[in-house]
Amino acid sequence: MFGVFKGLGVTIRQLPKKKVTLMYPEVKPVWPERYRGIHEFIPELCIVCNQCARICPTDCISLSGTRDENKKLRIDTYDINFEICILCDLCTEVCPTESIRMTDQFELASYTRDSLYKDMKWLYQNHIEHGSYQALQAAKTEEEANAAREAQAANAEAASGAGQKASPEEANAARMPADETVSSSGKGGQPE
């Protein structure tokens, strides 16, 4: 007969405990890093290798690309149909350039089926707003800064090698030619 009272004891003990409800629309859940949410797409990185579309088990990616004047493939359209996407992560797994990734967005509910058809623009927007855009941008500026610093160091070395003093005021000036070299060398690498 006492099992019943034991149970009553358990329930009453929960009464003052901290509640676990998440006030959802106001408070969003915090997802771990690997969370597989809606995709983001970074067109600059895509090499139109078509691997993502091929691996997709539900065939929900459709893409097309053209060769530009440099014989380099450029992505033209990239659509994911979120009606059938199962967020399985296989596309991001196979992508060699990480141009398709996943964000921590999960709110896909909408009133029409059409709006679940997300194109490249939307996916890129998702990248900027919710995706790894910030991180990528930070990494980019870091890289640039690193390059500049190296160039500066090289300049300074060259300057000291020539027996001239390098003042900190010249740092800015030293950076400009360095940038120029980088871009010109980039240009030089391309077939004219």
């Binding site: 149970g7 329930t11 929960q14 009464l15 509640k19 676990v20 409800t21």
Partner: protein
């Protein structure tokens, strides 16, 4: 004590009655609304949720919103239902639930209480009318689930009415009166009847839970088996009527338990109605607490429990009480 109950009926007296009736109706509606709110809150807290919290501050308007929603919904009558009975059933179930409240002495100055000499008997009699409404509702819906629910509740409520009635006879024996006021007064003079009548109180609460169709005796509306039991086909405000009936009875039964066993409105220092409210709330809390914990009992076990356990125990209790009262 106001004496409109014993004075001859005049125009003013009649007006007072009507106003009193309407007032208490409004009051009970308010109580029931917040009963539902507190049930959801308490059970929510016990389940580590926060319960209603969106409509109004702390979700206080939630029940009101729910009731409004039910009122503006379409009133659907199934095509094959027995129309007139279908429409009548909620009313039959609902009206007695409010009528019994006229018998409960809420305060020491029972302004709104009919000081009838057969209060307890009348309570039991009126509350059994509700069963009729439920059975009719289940039958008239012409739905298999409803029918099963209606049949179950008929069997259950009829069986449990007997131990319920027997458990209160002990109190009547001790007091020598069926008048609820007298019972409270007697308790305030001597001792709460929960102490001499602890067995009676336990039986009363168990049978009461069964009468209310609440967990662990909620077979008639066993959601996981019968969808919603006898009111499966009801919608809109007719559904609201059934809901309301249920919760008014929760309140009424707890009020009756308070009156019979916990000394009613009597108590030191505080005004009588506060005492009454505290005791009733404790009973109600207990009912919600049980609901948060218990699984549902099975039909045949339910019957067996009533006939094989509750009734013999109630009878034994009765005999002992009678013996004691005789001495």
């Amino acid at each position: 004590m106001l004496n409109w109950q014993s004075s001859p009926l005049t125009g003013i007296g009649f007006l007072g009655m009507v106003i009193g009736g309407v007032l208490i109706l409004g009051l009970i509606l308010g109580i029931v609304t917040y009963l539902i709110y507190f049930e959801r809150k308490i059970i929510g807290w016990m389940q580590l949720r926060i319960g209603p919290n969106r409509v109004g501050p702390f979700g206080l308007m939630q029940s009101i919103a729910d009731v409004l929603k039910l009122l503006i919904k379409e009133d659907i009558v199934p095509e094959n239902a027995d129309r007139s009975l279908f429409l009548l059933a909620p009313i039959i179930a609902f009206v007695p639930s409010f009528m019994v409240l006229a018998l409960i002495p809420f305060t020491a100055t029972h302004v709104f209480t009919s000081n009838t000499q057969v209060g307890l008997l009348l309570y039991l009699a009126l509350s059994s009318i509700t069963i009729l409404g439920i059975v009719l509702g289940g039958w008239a819906s012409n739905n298999k689930y409803s029918l099963l629910g209606g049949m179950r509740s008929a069997a259950q409520m009829v069986s449990y009415e007997i131990p319920l009635g027997m458990s209160v006879i002990g109190v009547v024996l001790l007091t020598g009166s069926l008048n609820l006021n007298t019972i409270v007064v007697a308790q305030s003079r001597h001792i709460w009847y929960i102490i001499p009548q602890i067995v009676g109180f336990i039986i009363f609460m168990i049978a009461g839970l069964a009468e209310l169709n609440r967990t662990p005796f909620d077979l008639p509306e066993a959601e996981s088996e019968l969808v919603a039991g006898y009111f499966t086909e009801y919608s809109g405000f007719r559904f609201a009527f059934f809901m309301l009936t249920e919760y008014v009875y929760v309140f009424a039964l707890c009020a009756l338990a308070t009156t019979l066993f916990l000394g009613g409105w009597s108590g030191p220092f505080l005004p009588s109605w506060i005492w009454f409210a505290i005791k009733t709330s404790a009973c109600i809390f207990f009912i919600f607490w049980v609901r948060a914990t218990m699984p549902r009992i099975r039909g045949d076990q339910l019957m067996g429990f009533a006939w094989k356990v509750l009734i013999p125990v109630a009878l034994a209790n009765l005999i002992v009480t009678a013996g004691v009262a005789l001495l």
